[in-house]
């Protein structure tokens, strides 16, 4: 336990990643799975190395990153913003919430043609898609989080004539922070998916383009390559959000610590 705990955090996912590659390796070897269903790992590895060395992968990665990040930022901002409006105003909630929920249930792919006509087939339309998919988790978690602010704390501030803006900024927002970060984490995966779906609809570049054109060209290895890259981008993004979460919402992980030992560490014996 103690030694394990001392390892840097990035070791663990690597271990489980290796396990998966191992299973994959074994599966390809043992069951003679045809290439076009599941290519062997070394093929994909070769492909990745070559792609990075000759630079052919960078434009795809870049395009997907730009779309994802652009849409993520805008979509999250919109989700949080509208969440704030709706949580603060009963009227907004009554009129808008059901509509937004309905809109969210509409598959973005069905809206594709309209989005393409309105936003063109360039980066803009993909960003719009990403915005649409990231929006909802942020929106719901923001409303939900803001609503959970402790009434007693709010009252304490109200007693000092706190304005609505003050209550919002200094009480509700910090109370909701953790839940908003949860939304940001969900959003990052959805943003990537949104970008890829956008690239499926129309594109010349991007990992989504790579994957779907590989599927038409029956290049299983390229498909897996694209999928892997997407997974890695998603993991990095999620890890960044998690780290930020821990630092920003420092007051919620207040496990009491005494100097020499951490309480929870010891307790495990008993809890486990």
């Amino acid at each position: 336990m103690k030694y394990l705990a001392a390892l840097p955090a990035f070791i663990y996912p690597l271990v489980s990643l290796s396990a998966i590659v191992g299973i994959w390796f074994a599966a390809v070897r043992l069951f003679v799975i045809p290439d076009y269903l599941l290519p062997p790992p070394w093929q994909v590895f070769d492909l990745l190395v070559n792609g990075f060395v000759d630079g052919a992968l960078w434009p795809h990665i870049g395009a997907t990153l730009v779309e994802t990040l652009g849409g993520y930022v805008v979509g999250s901002a919109l989700g949080i913003g509208l969440g704030v409006l709706l949580a603060e105003s009963k009227m907004f909630e009554r009129f808008l919430l059901p509509l937004l929920t309905g809109l969210q249930a509409v598959p973005k792919v069905a809206l594709g043609p309209i989005i393409l006509v309105w936003c063109g087939y360039g980066v803009a339309s993909k960003i719009v898609l990403v915005v649409l998919v990231c929006f909802f988790p942020l929106f719901i978690n923001t409303i939900n989080g803001l609503r959970r602010a402790d009434e007693d704390l709010l009252d304490a501030c109200r007693a000092f004539s706190a304005s609505r803006a003050f209550l919002f900024l200094h009480v509700k927002l910090p109370s909701a922070a953790s839940e908003i970060f949860g939304g940001l984490q969900i959003g990052i995966s959805l943003a990537l998916i949104g970008a890829v779906v956008g690239e499926f609809l129309s594109s010349q570049r991007g990992l989504g383009y790579l994957v779907s054109s590989a599927s038409v060209n029956m290049s299983g290895a390229t498909m897996v390559e694209g999928v892997l890259l997407l997974a890695v981008i998603g993991m990095c993004g999620a890890q960044m959000v998690r780290t930020l979460h821990r630092h920003v919402v420092f007051w919620e992980s207040r496990e009491t610590r005494t100097e020499s030992r951490r309480r929870r560490g010891k307790m495990m014996v008993w809890e486990g």
Partner: protein
């Protein structure tokens, strides 16, 4: 009962002393899933400008509810409450509140928690900061100004709440068992400090406590409430000379007042 205290019961009023807070036939019913709870019934109460009123009453009789009405946080189910003559439809700006629970913001340091009224009321920053440091010294927490509430003991948190209440130098102080979690010495020190502040600036105070001695020691008048639903069952003027000190505690009138009040609780 002295003219200085602004009470004008029975005698002719020479000079109308303004009221800080009044409650007229105030009743409060809470709605719960298990039916309504009648917390206060027909409360009538005036606090004059500069008057120190203590409230005694059994647990659950509605003292905190009364204080929340004065703080503008609860609207009575029936009856009327006013603050400095105006109907109480929002929290007053010149009011300081110390709650029964500390109610500190967990994401703000002790210092920032004390600074809260400066932010909400838009006071100039520099003098407020100076005053916050003074108040933290007053309650013995200078060393903890950068710590977070979760790193404090219960009594320390309560003291932060007291410092916060005083930051904007409010005219009316509402204190809900402010010294309950404090040891005897800190309690005495803070009681004397409170008296000093009150004497110096003639604030109005609504002071809820469970300690009969504390009530008698500090107050001009002690209100006694019945158990739920809370009604005012006695209103005892305390005419001990000011400033009161440790000698007061052993004086005969002090003992008499305490004994009289204790009669309500036996």
């Amino acid at each position: 009962m002295t003219a200085a205290n602004g009470r004008a019961v029975g005698g002719p009023v020479l000079e109308p002393v303004p009221v800080a807070f009044t409650a007229e036939n105030v009743s409060v019913c809470y709605q719960t899933r298990k039916g309504a709870i009648e917390a206060l019934r027909d409360i009538n109460l005036d606090i004059m400008q500069g008057e120190f009123v203590a409230v005694l009453g059994p647990s659950g009789c509605g003292k905190s509810t009364l204080m929340k009405i004065a703080a503008g946080l609860i609207i009575p189910t029936s009856g009327r409450a006013t603050l400095a003559g105006k109907p109480l439809d929002r929290p007053g700006r010149d009011v300081g509140v110390a709650f029964q629970k500390p109610n500190l913001l967990p994401w703000k340091s002790v210092f920032d928690n004390v600074m809260l009224p400066a932010l909400t009321l838009g006071l100039p920053r520099a003098p407020a900061e100076r005053r916050a440091m003074e108040l933290l010294a007053l309650v013995g927490l200078s060393a903890f100004s950068a710590n977070y509430p979760a790193e404090l003991s219960g009594g320390m948190q309560q003291r932060v709440g007291i410092a916060r209440m005083l930051l904007h130098d409010p005219q009316l102080l509402l204190m809900d068992e402010p010294f309950a979690a404090l040891d005897a010495m800190t309690r005495e020190t803070l009681a004397l400090e409170l008296q000093r502040i009150w004497l110096g600036q003639r604030k109005s105070v609504l002071f809820i406590t469970h300690s009969i001695q504390e009530a008698v020691f500090l107050a001009d008048r002690v209100i006694v409430m019945s158990s739920r639903p809370g009604r005012v069952i006695d209103d005892v003027p305390i005419t001990l000379a000011r400033p009161r000190n440790t000698d007061t505690l052993s004086s005969a009138p002090f003992g008499d007042a305490c004994r009289y009040l204790r009669g309500h609780f036996q």
